[in-house]
């Protein structure tokens, strides 16, 4: 029963040009995804410092997803390529630290892919629910 009541905290970083617009499209098409997902708007996925992700985990987020333009479609030409490399490193670091790397995901969603945005968020939330609460990285000192 407890599993059903688990409401994960999910932070989604969306780039302003593709994925945030994709999320808007999901909204205007009334494509539902869990309320656990909260979006932070960034100009480009390359603005997402791996530090932000670790900070989210430290503060008790159960999952973090980064969405950017498809490779080749970046509004700033090459931003999402940087993101891809940086996140590859972060993935292997999470692995090394022994943290479930499924708690983090990188996904390309274009401005026209409202449906993809909603399905991605549904799948990711399901995955996080199956992984359960983030206990390994949460810093209990942050909880007052």
């Amino acid at each position: 029963m407890q599993v059903n009541e688990f409401k994960p905290k999910i932070v989604a970083f969306c780039c302003n040009w593709c994925s945030y617009a994709g999320a808007d499209l999901a909204g205007s098409n009334r494509l539902s995804y869990p309320a656990d997902v909260k979006i932070i708007r960034v100009p480009c996925s390359c603005r997402v410092n791996p530090m932000f992700i670790l900070r989210a985990f430290q503060r008790g987020a159960d999952g973090v997803i980064i969405c950017g333009c498809h490779p080749g479609d970046c509004h700033y030409t090459s931003g999402n390529y940087y993101t891809r490399r940086r996140m590859a490193l972060l993935f292997s670091m999470l692995d090394y630290l022994g943290i479930e790397k499924d708690r983090m995901r990188l996904e390309w969603v274009s401005a026209a892919e409202g449906a993809k945005f909603a399905t991605t968020m549904n799948e990711f939330t399901e995955k996080i629910i199956s992984l359960g609460e983030n206990k390994r990285l949460e810093d209990l000192r942050c909880k007052k």
Partner: protein, 664 residues
């Protein structure tokens, strides 16, 4: 400490139906820094904006959070409101509680809870906002139009008539595009050439327009108002400034068997050619793939017959650098390839043609001089079958065709059927359709005339198979209304092939960093309110590159794009985006990491003097961002190992605060 005002919008019932707006504004009133919280039916309305302005004055607010629709919708509106009440426009943050909350959640408890978190996140950010001022940059008062079809022609003419210089880049040897290949145009049956070619001449003669024909865009740099474009002018081996277009070379060239692309390969041209009689510029072009002189140095006939001495076998591709303030994409469309639709026997029989090929057959300047004959044996066909939606509306066959409706096929098929019956009353004409879609002025009347006055047999149902048998084409189809299968022995089958964006569109979109949808059509900035602008500032869309369109719609959109370009070029200075990177000189160690990732070359280094220990002076190399060039992507902020680089408006501290607010 900021003094923040929170304004929760109901958006009529769009938000209020699934979010308890009163509860949200009460909960957010307790957040740190908030001194005022209100909710109202329509915040974006005049009354709503007045309410914000009054609150700013009354409570001496320094920052504002509006919980409403997407910032992509009304961020500018509320920034202007704030500015008019005397606070910096960048002290405004939007919590998107419509697209990201009320519209996707059905339960009022969930919706309200999430709206509070989103509001809290925006408040956390505004607490760390700082006033920003946008820099200004000059505007190059010249526009580039990519594509010289009817869309590009109309846009160029409209911009040029307003007094601005325009360059057209066309990849083919002549402008004119698809419309130049058409015979008649629906629903008036105007001759396409008669209405297009005068416009082509206007373009050629306009003192403000330059045509780069047989050219492609090779590279684009810069940003709105200041694009640096490299145009590759392909070698045509004929000097454009000297060639008179007499056409003597195209008659004497000994290489005769080159498929003529203007007639879709249904006849042949020479290796040196002028695509059609009314070509603009009317200059010959040598096809290097076929020319004997260029291939093995033996021939030179064209050079001998040319009295103007225009032939130049040594010509090379040249790169031209130009500056533009705005770029219009008018790359147009193409019919899809029929190779995956073998059930219609397109590859097996010459008498199965696409509608564009049929258009050339019916055209007086086409391969048959306008006489309707079968391509296989030159005989007059008696039974013609038109198949609609070949590759369009393929919801279950996306690997073969397109999911969307190509929009123009119903009308041009009605036109073809009508013209066939009009010229050759002895023919039997069948049209197989899923639906006949005729939304447009005088369109339905046109279709009904084809069916009722001209006796075209419209059959609801799709063709399953076309089988060549002897000199006939056996068409097996279903008639959904009579609920039976029918077989027709046809002489010709005409396929209304779906249309798709031109293949060059993808690489052009990448160069322009303009976004595209899954079908490679360019995306507009807003589907309803900004239909001719790309989300990338300074890039405008004209014609079928944005979606299937007929000629009247294309011309209307071309004019609209031109109006937007004129509006941009009429400005002397453009306000830039103040959300740019900046480096903290005290922390920077001059490592060049930021410079290496910057896609715009906005970062440079200077030697600066700093105070060292014991009254010494240290000279250190530090990064400096050029705010006029920086576009604010933030790549450098993450690359910086010392944390010296930050992005205004999306500062590390602000994003951290947002993360914390969500995870609280």
């Amino acid at each position: 400490m900021q003094r923040i005002g929170v304004f929760v919008c109901w958006c009529g019932s769009n938000i209020a139906a699934t979010v308890d707006v009163e509860a949200v504004s009460q909960a957010l009133a307790k957040e740190p820094g908030v001194v005022h919280s209100a909710n109202y039916q329509y915040m974006c309305s005049q009354a709503g904006q007045d309410l914000i302005r009054a609150a700013i004055k009354e409570h001496k607010l320094t920052g504002i959070v509006v919980c409403s629709c997407s910032p992509r919708m009304h961020e500018m509106t509320f920034r202007k409101t704030a500015e008019s009440a005397g606070i910096n426009p960048y002290m405004v943050e939007i919590a998107n509680i419509r697209e990201q909350c009320s519209w996707i959640h059905k339960d009022i408890l969930t919706g309200t809870e999430k709206a509070i978190v989103l509001g809290r996140t925006a408040i956390a950010k505004v607490n760390l906002n700082a006033p920003l001022t946008a820099g200004e940059s000059p505007v190059t008062k010249r526009a580039l139009v990519i594509g010289g079809g009817i869309a590009g022609i109309q846009t160029a003419l409209d911009i040029a008539d307003a007094g601005f210089e325009v360059d057209i880049v066309e990849k083919n040897p002549t402008i004119g595009g698809k419309m130049a290949q058409l015979d008649k145009t629906f629903p008036t049956l105007d001759c396409a050439a008669c209405i297009l070619t005068p416009k082509m001449v206007d373009v050629a003669q306009h003192e403000k327009i330059r045509i780069f024909s047989y050219s492609e865009v090779a590279a684009v740099k810069g940003f709105v108002g200041n694009f640096d474009v490299t145009i590759k002018k392909k070698a045509r081996y004929v000097r454009e400034d000297v060639c008179t277009g007499c056409g003597l070379c195209t008659e004497k060239c000994p290489v005769k068997k080159v498929p003529n692309e203007f007639n879709l390969g249904m006849d042949t041209r020479r290796a040196i050619y002028i695509p059609f009689a009314q070509a603009v510029p009317k200059v010959a072009t040598i096809d290097a793939d076929y020319c004997n002189m260029l291939k093995n140095g033996k021939c030179g006939v064209c050079s001998k017959v040319c009295t103007a001495k225009a032939i130049d076998y040594e010509q090379k591709d040249t790169l031209i650098e130009e500056k533009y303030g705005a770029i219009v994409v008018a790359t147009g469309f193409n019919p899809i390839s029929m190779e995956k639709f073998d059930e219609y026997a397109y590859s097996q029989s010459k008498d199965v043609v696409t509608s564009l090929e049929f258009e050339r057959i019916m055209n007086a300047a086409g391969p048959t001089q306008g006489k309707l004959v079968r391509p296989s044996d030159g005989k007059h066909p008696h039974t013609l079958v038109f198949v609609q939606c070949v590759g369009s509306r393929c919801a279950n066959c996306a690997e073969k065709g397109k999911e969307y409706c190509s929009k123009i096929c119903c009308m041009y098929t009605a036109k073809h059927a009508m013209l066939t019956r009009d010229k050759y009353p002895d023919t039997d004409v069948y049209v197989f359709y899923i639906d006949v879609r005729t939304p447009g002025k005088n369109f339905d009347e046109f279709y009904r005339r084809a069916a009722e006055e001209y006796g075209v047999h419209y059959v609801k149902g799709m063709v399953g198979k076309v089988m060549p048998e002897g000199d006939k084409l056996m068409v097996r189809a279903s008639d959904l209304i009579a609920n039976k299968q029918i077989n027709i022995a046809a002489d010709m089958v005409i396929l209304a092939a779906a249309i798709e964006p031109d293949k060059s569109a993808r690489s052009i979109a990448t160069m322009l960093t303009a976004s595209m949808d899954t079908n490679d059509f360019f995306t507009e900035a807003h589907p309803k309110l900004r239909p001719v602008e790309s989300p990338t500032a300074g890039i405008f869309l004209s014609g079928a590159c944005q979606g299937p369109k007929d000629i009247p719609e294309t011309v209307a959109q071309a004019g609209a794009a031109a109006a937007k370009v004129i509006g941009l070029l009429a400005k002397d200075k453009l306000k830039g985006n103040p959300c740019v990177a900046s480096s903290n000189e005290l922390m920077c160690n001059g490592c060049s990491s930021c410079e290496r990732v910057c896609p715009y070359g906005a970062i440079s280094y200077v030697d600066k003097e700093f105070r060292g220990p014991n009254r010494t002076v240290l000279v250190r190399r530090v990064a400096q961002v050029n705010p006029a060039v920086c576009q604010g992507c933030g790549a450098c902020t993450v690359a910086c190992p010392s944390g010296a680089m930050d992005l205004k408006g999306f500062a590390t501290k602000q994003i951290m605060a947002e993360v914390d607010a969500i995870c609280k």
